[in-house]
Symmetry: C2
Subunit: 469 residues, 2 copies
């Protein structure tokens, strides 16, 4: 499989090398630029994205991959695409390891009995019905745990107390998420019978943040959970008092083998080069705790609305595909399936952007494209200026998580960067609900995506990705 | 009982009538005003209140009246008063109807199955183990419910969807709390089998706010709960879609007869008129969901700290009593017991203020005293100006809830008004935790109470309450 992927990439580079480094040309006609302005203005007036995310989060609600609501979400998406008049609407299967949460609770047993607010991390095993009870051993970082002597946590519950940094671009997430991804493995290696961590969170409310976690072959799996920030503070204070702190952790959950869900795809078919397409989208699944408004109902709604508004303006030269990925939260399974199922057509992508970072204002556009495409990028960025979108001239964008499986294809990828300052207050919590979306900012998001999709689909130059080095 | 109370009041008025309406006099010496300044400055530097509230909320945690932690809280308070060097420390019993929450959950059964975040209201009866399941009938206000035809809610679950207003002085609470106090009674009268309400809340997070509620003799009690604001929004949207909305409500709770707890009292004994005293304090109990940091760990800590700081400065002429009331949340039972047990000494109160409104900055002082005391009030207000405390010249203060049972005695009462803009985001929720207290504002609170207590205890004029009309 991998071999054929790289062959495809090489082929792409060769076939477009000739168009690279040409002299600047007018990428858009005056008429097209008038349409861009009209599109932008219309998008800023449109309630469509709000209506869509309101409907998804209310009438479907939480939609964990593999759950009954996930099926409803797939049906919802197909119905919406059709009602919005997309030219083609279809679904493509994706499989994933299904997991279900039943219940979760924790408490401090001593020295000061009181409940703790936790949530099981994805794929956690269950505890016995009565929970596990053990002394807590605290580490500041996963590194401190890894560097500790073997057996240091024998029979204990490891607590990693790392606090995520807040930043507009979410750069605190990567370092913090280590403790979620593999904390239970490292704790188990040191003899622990359970694992809890300070949530990957910038919030100061009593919500624990769930998220993917992984076990490792050959390392005994142990129950794994996240504490809300106030609860992690409390545990930290109690541990600091110097007496042993014992907690009870009770998780009831189940891994249920392979599940199946569907990427749902709606296409506005291009008039001149329909096989070439702009790919925008979000992921249709959500975690089970909230209603998945920010993550990622917003991305679903705003990309659907953007494509619809482009189609209302005029039929684009190239196609626009809105891909609503399945089972992102469990490990990008929908995106992997898309790449696998469409590997011959991935090279036809002329621009890709996934919205999976909430719906606060888009403050920047950054590309990750072949230099030959930069004149188009500059033209797009210019049309985004009235929306207060900055052009980050680094051409090294990291894009949404569902575009990671596309990387071997070197597609021309973009980041239309939402302000993430508050995103990790809500991410993967029960508190990710519709009221966390600002309808005004959502319109700005739609306008940005609409301008982007229109221009990428209509530019004279067909954008391509960076050459493989 | 009531007769003797009024006799006491009449006596008080007579005995101090002579001192009313005297010409202004210098209430404080230069030396005393220097001490006030030193006290104010010291209080703004002191971490004592923070240490106390940190200890109470961490080492005791939630402390529902009648719970094991409530006993710990009583022991904690006595120990702290003694360690702080209060001259007298004692406890006085109070009884109350004990109630305990075991579990609570709710979900939308149809048309869009999903969990709802709720909390049982205090004194709610249990549902059957499998919950109750019924169609929701929505009312905007309790008035709309009361005005509706008999039997309109037959077999249904009533939902009152009243949203509390946000305001610095908390004036939205009174109107909103009607639906909590007697919503279940009014719903039952119309045939409902269950009652849910939008929380008395200004928050936009997914916390339900508990609080006291009451049944009525002759009206069948029904299970009663509050929804978080986002969940009430969700229910509102689903009802608005026009199809019947069915929910399941499951509450397991128990009324357990009479409980006993204790008002814990610490006194700094006055040097000249020890029988006269300034009463400050808060309530020691909390609801069970959070750790009772804002409600009312802050009030406990800041009044203890203020009195201690006054004592460190110099022994006051009159006594200062810090009263930590028991079982406030269940209906002011500690305060009622205090008044009953101390009815001969309540007339000795020269100034009273309870802090039970969080710990955001105190923005105003208002009195409710006999006109003869206003020169003292003005002198106090002047010394609070450097703390940015405004003097509200209306002399009609409403004071803290635990002072309500003192009203028949017409004590000289004060409101040292915390800014309550955010208070009802957290009030009675699991999210009322230590991190919600701003240590800097807490110091300003301590300084305000310390200046108030010092000056009321040392003023030339012994303040008295308004004459009974």
């Amino acid at each position: 499989m991998k071999k054929s992927i790289f062959a495809g990439v090489a082929c792409l580079v060769v076939s477009f090398a000739a168009s690279a480094f040409q002299a600047p040309q007018a990428e858009f006609s005056e008429q097209q630029l008038k349409e861009v302005k009209a599109l932008r203005d219309n998008a800023l007036q449109s309630d469509l994205a709000w209506q869509l995310v309101e409907s998804l989060t209310t009438e479907v609600g939480p939609r964990m991959a593999g759950s009954p609501a996930d099926k409803l979400a797939v049906a919802w998406a197909k119905k919406q695409f059709k009602e919005l008049g997309f030219d083609k609407v279809w679904a493509e299967p994706a499989t994933f390891p299904k997991w279900q949460r039943y219940s979760e609770s924790a408490s401090i047993v001593g020295p000061a009995p009181q409940p703790l607010h936790i949530t099981a991390l994805g794929s956690s095993i269950s505890t016995p019905k009565s929970g596990i009870e053990a002394e807590v051993i605290e580490f500041e970082t996963i590194q401190e745990l890894e560097d500790a002597p073997a057996n240091i946590a024998d029979g204990k519950i490891v607590f990693i107390n790392y606090r995520m940094n807040r930043d507009r671009d979410g750069n605190g997430y990567g370092p913090a998420v280590q403790a979620r991804n593999r904390g239970a493995v490292e704790a188990s290696k040191k003899g622990a019978i359970g694992y809890v961590m300070r949530s990957v969170s910038t919030g100061h409310h009593r919500f624990a943040h769930t998220g993917g976690s992984h076990y490792q072959d050959g390392v005994k799996p142990i129950p794994t959970a996240a504490l809300s920030n106030p609860d992690a503070d409390q545990l930290q204070r109690l541990v600091a008092l110097g007496k042993p702190v014992t907690i009870n952790l009770n998780i009831q959950a189940e891994s249920m083998g392979q599940g199946t869900s569907y990427n749902v795809i709606g296409e506005i078919t291009g008039s001149e080069s329909p096989e070439q397409y702009v790919l925008i989208g979000g992921h249709l699944d959500s975690w089970d705790l909230g209603t998945g408004a920010l993550d990622d109902g917003a991305g679903v709604a705003l990309t659907m609305a953007a494509a619809k508004l482009v189609a209302d303006q005029s039929r684009p030269k190239r196609s626009i595909r809105v891909v609503l990925f399945a089972a992102e939260e469990l490990g990008l399974y929908g995106a992997k399936a898309y790449v696998k199922a469409n590997k011959d057509k991935v090279a036809n992508i002329v621009a890709a952007a996934e919205s999976d970072f909430g719906a606060d204002k888009i403050w920047a556009i950054e590309s990750n494209v072949h230099s030959s495409a930069l004149p188009v990028v500059r033209a797009i960025a210019k049309q985004l200026e009235p929306l207060n979108v900055e052009y980050v001239r680094k051409n090294a964008a990291r894009s949404g998580p569902d575009l990671i499986p596309f990387k071997p294809f070197n597609i021309p990828a973009f980041q239309l960067a939402q302000d993430g300052t508050d995103y990790f207050n809500y991410h993967h919590t029960a508190d990710d609900t519709l009221d966390k979306i600002d309808p005004v900012q959502l319109k700005q998001n739609v306008a940005t995506y609409a301008v982007f999709a229109y221009m990428a689909a209509n530019a004279k130059t067909r954008m391509i990705g960076k050459a493989k080095k």
